[in-house]
Each structure stands twice: as structure tokens, then as C-alpha cells.
Symmetry: C2
DNA sequence: GTTAGCATGTAAGGAGTTACATGATTTT
DNA sequence: AAAATCATGTAACTCCTTACATGCTAAC
């Protein structure tokens, strides 16, 4: 078992669900999909693709002739695997590394799954914020203006994230309409 | 050379600059200081403290008798090291892992240093946002409402962060007063 | 007197990066 | 024909977490 992070595996399977691609292209798509924070090096990508082929989730086809490309296609097992990952609503779907990719493929998950993941994510963030607040209150020493500002900003960002999740949850529950799209239902978000 | 991340090293030296402490306590302070995202395990903390002692930046004193504590104190070399780290304005001070800790100890840096770090951080984020925007514009396929919302939210967060930095830079340049408005207690002088 | 929290540490391994190595194809 | 970019891959290394192991002390 060459180790594979669930996040990367899910991202690759999900992108290949739409269309076969080669590694280089997958990397570009991936970076655009989430911002992805980190840049995703080849040293991560290619071994991961290999392990997915080895486990039967992908087929690799080298293009004979032209450029030295290897085009990856999702197998039946790969599709099954992806469906399983998308349906996952446990803690692994909430954490910092995985939440973004789960959200990116929400269109393939059903309403209860989406709500469960959003709520799980929110409660995790709320729990973290509580810890942080308690920790700030406890250490009343060591407070220059910069430390305070850093803590204030961290707290504000966290609270904003929680509000975002709350709005998404409300939207899901109200109409099940995804946010922001060109839908019969206009989005409930109030951008300025 | 047991490897040590600069961020953790700087955080430990900085906290011990204020007062001697033992490891367990350092960990709690550290978590409260930044939110720190991750929780910082003992498996990281203790080896790092050991390596700082070995390199002469800390003195370790085991409390004989009572509880099995090891109290760490900053040495002269450790102070020098910390001053050097605080004065650092290169890329290492801007990146995601290190910026927070540099900001937390801004009270010990001089105005030009603070401004250089803030500007470096901002331009790094702006560059990342540009990449992200270009990447979004390029891949006009694969856009369901969720993907779009994720990208929109990511962009908005990034832009907000840039605005925050801009305000801080303006404040620094205008009066050198740290943010947060009214603080009757002026920040600590650089003479410890 | 037992549970909860304080306090320190080690070994193994996961998840990723950097730096290197190679070569084809397109652009200038 | 040179330079840039496309395209794939490996080896070494870094930083960190998890899981384990140990024992003290305060509180109930």
C-alpha cells in the first residue's frame, strides 16, 4: 500500500470522472480547483497516480507515437471508489485537508450528505474557536498590540467561516438549491 | 543537526524571552498564541527543545525534588539568535508557516522590518491570487454551482487578507501605532 | 484510592517537498 | 538553433503526527 492521501485520491478520481487526462493536465486542473493552497509537486502526483493504477481504479494508456503522455481513465472500480468517497460523511470529510475537495464535488452527493458534511465542518470549526477563545482568555499575560491583533484577526476569520457554512446549510435546507448559480431561484446571498 | 522548523524555533525562543518555562507550559502558550492551526504534538516539541539546548540557545534545568519538570531558560546565544530571526525580512518571513509567528513578535522588530515583512506577505498573497484568478478564467469547463462557490469564497478570503495587510501597512507608515485602536498600555520597548 | 490531568519522552511512519534527471515539442 | 514549456519520473529528505511508554500529583 503506497500511502495515498484521501484528498488527492478523491480529487484525481473526481476530475477523471469528467474526462480522461494525463498527469500534467490533472495537476493544472487541481491547482485551479481549490486554489489548493500548496502547489502539488510531481513527486506527489505521479506516485499517487501509479498507486491508483496498481489498485485498479485507473487505467493508464501511453500514447504511442506523439508526445510522451500517459492518459488516465477511470475504471468501473474507480467510479465505485469515487462514489464511496463522495458519500462519506464522517470526520475525514470535515477536516482542513479534505473539506474543500468534498465541497468541490458536492454536485455528486445527495442533500443529506451535503448537509451532514457542512454541519460537521461547522461544528469542528466552532469547537476550535471555543478552544481558541478559552486559550486567549486564560493567558492574560503576553499581550502587546500585535499579539492581540493577530488573535482578533484569527478569531474573526474563523467566525466568518462559520457564518459562511451556516448560510450554506440554510440554503441547502430551504430549497436544496446550490448557491450562486444561474438558477430559477436567485441566490440568497447579499453581495454588497 | 536535528532539523528544526524556523517557525517553532522562533516561537519557543520568543516565549522564553519573556520568562523561563517548561515544555508542557510552552505548548499551551504556543497553541493560544496563534490558534496555531495544528495542535503541536509532544513528538515535535520535546526533540526541538533538546536540539535548542544542544545548540546552546537554551539552558535546561531539571527541578530536583518536586514534579518531573525541566525548566528552559534562554541563553545569551539564544537571545542573539532570536534577535536575528526577528530581524529577518526575506521570503522565509512571508510564507504561510512563518508569517504568523513573525507577526506575533512584531513588538520586538523595528518599523522598517515590520513594513518589509507586511509588504512581502501581501505581495506573495497577491501573486497567489493572480495565479488563482488566471487559473479560474482558463478552466471554463467543470463549473457547477458548488465549484464556483468554492472558488468565489477562496478568492474573497484571499482578498480580505490582502486588505487586512494593507490596513496594517498604512497604519505602520502613518504613525507606527500598532492596530486595535486605543491601548493605554504602550507596547514593550525593545530593551528587555 | 482512583480518576484526571500534569509532565516527559521515543519509535515508526505518513504526507509531502525539493532537487535532480531525462527527453519531446512548440515558440521565437 | 535556442529557449521555453510540456511531460514524466526518482531519491533523499523534512517536518510532523500517532501511538506507545512512563510516572507524578491534585482532586474528588
Amino acid at each position: 500500500m503506497t500511502s495515498r492521501s484521501t484528498a488527492l485520491e478523491m480529487a484525481l478520481l473526481g476530475l477523471l470522472h469528467d474526462a480522461p487526462m494525463h498527469g500534467y493536465e490533472l495537476r493544472k486542473q487541481l491547482i485551479g480547483l481549490l486554489g489548493w493552497g500548496r502547489v502539488l509537486s510531481y513527486g506527489t502526483l505521479y506516485p499517487c497516480l501509479k498507486s491508483l493504477v496498481r489498485d485498479g481504479f485507473l487505467d493508464a494508456e501511453g500514447t504511442s507515437g506523439g508526445r510522451n503522455r500517459i492518459v488516465y481513465t477511470l475504471t468501473a472500480a474507480g467510479k465505485e471508489r469515487f462514489v464511496g468517497l463522495v458519500a462519506e460523511t464522517g470526520p475525514t470529510a470535515w477536516d482542513d485537508d479534505n473539506f474543500g475537495i468534498h465541497f468541490a464535488f458536492f454536485a455528486r452527493a445527495d442533500l443529506p450528505t451535503r448537509v451532514r458534511i457542512l454541519e460537521g465542518r461547522r461544528s469542528r470549526l466552532e469547537q476550535r474557536l471555543d478552544h481558541f477563545r478559552a486559550s486567549i482568555a486564560r493567558s492574560r499575560e503576553r499581550r502587546d498590540a500585535y499579539t492581540l491583533e493577530l488573535q482578533r484577526h484569527g478569531l474573526e476569520s474563523g467566525e466568518r467561516e462559520v457564518r459562511w457554512l451556516t448560510e450554506l446549510i440554510d440554503t441547502e435546507r430551504a430549497g436544496g438549491r446550490p448557491p450562486g448559480g444561474s438558477n430559477p431561484n436567485p441566490p440568497p446571498k447579499e453581495t454588497s
